[in-house]
């Protein structure tokens, strides 16, 4: 069945040809029903349309692509085999530290460099939202090892809490932020409690179901959430009470008048950018401090071996619930920011694809790696953004990128799983293997 040859010896041209021909044949099989044929609506009835030219191009491209790809792969392998193996000094931890500071510097400098380019800063803000969500989910998935496919539910809870607190009680962003975090954490515990006994993939489907439940409720409970129409005109956050309006109401000052600047719409965009940057950095510091506390150690122990944890007398229930609650709280904070930035939220923004994207960011980045999350968020947000000129391809590109990165680097882009604690050098060297 499988004629794709993976041989170690030098490949003959005939073998290469056979291999590429097999790929071309598979492409033909896959292409006939999808590329070669399509149905179009003509006068109320469907008729079949053939696109043999496109099919031919697709098969040809697969054939040639495979041929060249294998050839390059072989060249790379030969070159690698020719070189004597040099004992590599692992400089990854230092390198990561340097890159981390560089990325931080770049993100602080970005609005200064692009102070007139709204598109760049908007996109960077989106990246940072995903970074923050990724760091939040990292607590649940990367540290505690609990697979959560419904993380977007907490994001939604945060966003809707702010929107509702504003529209019913007129709360501002800063007042609503802690309440929304607490609300999301409560939901985290509510979800976590009944499913503590579940593990692995059972947990995955239940969390996925929970995400869907929240979304369906938001769509259908119109008295609460205004249904699919969403909630609009959510106010933007202020800087210590200074709004970013063009015309402040009588007797109050806006950011521009207070500092004696000329009003510019960019002020708010840049402020939002720095706000999410600060929120994300706080998340990062918070999580990395937690990792050094007993509760963080407990999470990682739980990820490695639940039975051993129980045997050591740990309260597994509390450890899991705390991971759920803290992860959910961080998601809730990100949700509040999202609502404030968009000014409008609807259930549309909280679909499963969003959960999948956040999870993909955590896993693609290399589980548990903070910088990896930044890298993965950059790739996954920017890649579809590059294809925005032909927007119908962006999700196709997104899916392809997810598969390719995973196949290329199965343990994530930055996959150095450093133990947070070492007993002493000797045991560490022995236990690393």
């Amino acid at each position: 069945m499988s004629a794709v040859i993976i041989a170690r010896h030098a490949r003959t041209p005939a073998e290469r040809f056979k291999d590429a021909a097999w790929v071309g044949f598979v492409a033909l099989l896959l292409g006939i029903p999808m590329v070669g044929l399509t149905t179009v609506d003509q006068g109320g009835a469907l008729t079949v349309q053939t696109r043999f030219g496109m099919l031919g191009a697709f098969v040809g491209a697969s054939f040639v692509g495979r041929f060249i790809f294998r050839w390059i792969m072989d060249q790379v392998r030969n070159r690698r085999a020719a070189k004597p193996a040099v004992a590599k000094v692992d400089r990854t931890p230092q390198a990561i530290k340097v890159i981390g500071w560089a990325v931080l510097g770049a993100s602080i400098a970005l609005p200064i460099a692009f102070s007139e380019n709204r598109y760049v800063i908007d996109t960077a803000t989106t990246v940072l939202i995903y970074v923050m969500l990724g760091w939040g989910l990292n607590v649940v998935v990367g540290l505690a090892g609990l697979l959560d496919l419904g993380y977007v539910a907490f994001y939604a809870v945060g966003a809707y809490t702010y929107a509702l607190l504003f529209s019913h009680f007129g709360w501002t962003f800063w007042e609503a932020l802690p309440v929304a975090g607490a609300m999301a954490a409560t939901f985290g515990i509510l979800l976590g409690y009944p499913i503590l006994r579940l593990r692995g993939d059972y947990l995955a489907i239940v969390t996925l179901g929970f995400g869907e439940i929240i979304r369906v409720i938001l769509v259908n409970w119109t008295e609460l959430s205004n249904g699919p129409n969403g909630i609009g005109s959510i106010p933007r956050p202020t800087l210590f009470g200074l709004p970013f309006d063009r015309n402040p109401t009588e007797g109050t000052q806006s950011f521009a008048t207070f500092f004696g600047l000329e009003f510019s719409g960019m002020h708010r965009i840049i402020f939002l950018y720095y706000l999410i940057l600060v929120l994300a950095l706080l998340t990062n510091v918070f999580v990395s401090r937690l990792r050094k506390l007993p509760v963080g150690r407990a999470w990682e122990a739980l990820r490695e071996d639940e039975i051993a944890c129980k045997a050591m007398g740990m309260n597994v229930t509390n450890v899991k619930l705390s991971a759920f609650a803290i992860g959910a709280m961080l998601g809730g904070f990100a949700g509040v920011f999202f609502a404030a930035r968009q000014g409008f939220i609807s259930p549309e923004s909280f679909t499963f694809t969003e959960s999948a994207t956040i999870l993909a960011i955590v896993v693609l980045g290399g589980m548990g790696s903070q910088l990896g999350v930044v890298l993965a968020a950059l790739v996954l947000v920017l890649l579809p953004e590059l294809g925005r000129n032909f927007s119908e391809y962006r999700m196709l590109l997104f899916g392809t990128a997810m598969v390719l990165i995973m196949v290329w680097k199965p343990s994530g882009l930055l996959a150095s799983r450093e133990p947070t604690i070492r007993l002493n050098k000797a045991t560490a060297a022995g236990g690393q293997s």
């Binding site: 069945m1 499988s2 794709v4 598979v26 099989l29 896959l30 006939i32 029903p33 999808m34 590329v35 044929l37 399509t38 149905t39 179009v40 609506d41 009835a45 469907l46 079949v48 998935v141 009944p194 499913i195 006994r197 579940l198 593990r199 993939d201 059972y202 489907i205 239940v206 996925l208 179901g209 869907e212 439940i213 369906v216 409720i217 769509v219 259908n220 039975i307 051993a308 499963f352 694809t353 999948a356 999870l359 993909a360 896993v363 693609l364 589980m367 119908e392 391809y393 999700m395 196709l396 997104f398 899916g399 392809t400 990128a401 997810m402 598969v403 995973m406 196949v407 199965p410 343990s411």
Partner: protein, 304 residues
């Protein structure tokens, strides 16, 4: 009463379809321990193939119903199995032996890819086909309400029963079934005994895809409309069914499918159609609280 009976019939039909898809999830989970998120989209691909095939047959004036349905089934099974094979080969096989989450992410990516590929090549609009099989039998009449089983429903239930019998035979009685179950228990040992594990896994994916293909054709005939998003919802429901029945257990998948179908039908009929998904997932959570490995699943033995 008549109304309830009608809902029972509808629920069982829907459940049979979910069950067919759920078997694909449960088999793949059993053999390589991953959630094949792209399975729902494989089902969607097969529904599109069915639409094309039905339209082609109509264009060639083939009107004999049994012939048309058989031809469409064979076409759909053939091409969909090719998709099942290719997805496994491209997205999952390179990840064998890596972390547990890697294939999951690549499966989600594959699912997004398939959805958008179909949307691009086949169009984003809903595809309606003319009714294939019309009419039915009126089995009971009471108080002005007629209980009716349509021919399509009879066909779906019959096809499902036949497939289940054939499938059980295949898994329990044949050499391939033995190999498949052996891989499920211990793939290293199976490889040592001279079984081609990769080939068995590929065959498992193709079988799962074939069952999804049948489900796709049935859904196309039953509802008469297809769009590129049906895979997601059906996939989640079928996966829920597989977990409810106990993931890894074949009768469990069918049982789970039937339960989910019945819950949906009755909830939508008597309580509120908007919240039928909430009901499904709530019942899943409730069942898992008391039986963490599903209704028919074997409890995991933890070895230290």
């Amino acid at each position: 009463m008549a109304y309830a009976l009608q809902q029972l019939i509808n629920g069982l039909t829907l459940g049979a379809v979910y069950g067919l898809i759920a078997i694909g999830y449960t088999m793949v989970y059993g053999i390589i321990g991953m959630i094949n998120f792209a399975h729902g989209d494989i089902f969607m691909v097969s529904a599109f193939i069915a639409v094309t095939a039905f339209t082609l047959l109509a264009a060639f004036d083939i009107t004999s119903l049994p012939l048309a349905i058989t031809a469409v089934l064979i076409t759909a099974i053939f091409f969909t199995s090719a998709y099942g094979w290719a997805v496994e080969r491209m997205a999952y096989r390179p990840l064998r032996g890596s972390t547990r989450l890697a294939p999951l992410i690549s499966a989600i990516g594959m699912s997004i890819f398939l959805q958008n590929m179909v949307q691009l090549t086949q169009g984003a609009r809903v595809k309606p086909i003319p009714p294939v099989l019309e009419g039915g039998i009126e089995i009971w009449q009471s108080g002005g309400f007629t209980v009716q089983i349509s021919w399509t429903q009879i066909m779906i239930v019959l096809v499902t029963i036949v497939l289940m019998v054939a499938f059980t035979y295949l898994i329990t009685q044949t050499a391939f079934g033995r190999q498949q179950r052996a891989c499920e228990q211990d793939s290293t040992m199976t490889a040592l005994l001279g079984i081609n594990v990769d080939r068995t896994i590929s065959a498992t994916f193709m079988l799962g895809a074939a069952l999804a293909a049948v489900a796709g054709v049935m859904v196309t005939v039953y509802y008469g409309v297809v769009d590129f998003f049906i895979g997601f919802v059906a996939g989640i429901k079928a996966f829920t069914a597989a977990v409810l029945g106990g993931i890894g257990s074949l009768p469990g998948a069918m049982l789970g499918g039937l339960i989910i179908g019945l819950i949906e039908a009755f909830w939508a009929a008597y309580l509120s159609p908007e919240y039928k998904d909430v009901a499904t997932f709530s019942i899943l959570i409730l069942v898992l609280m008391f039986r963490p490995s599903g209704l028919l699943g074997r409890p995991e033995v933890e070895k230290v």
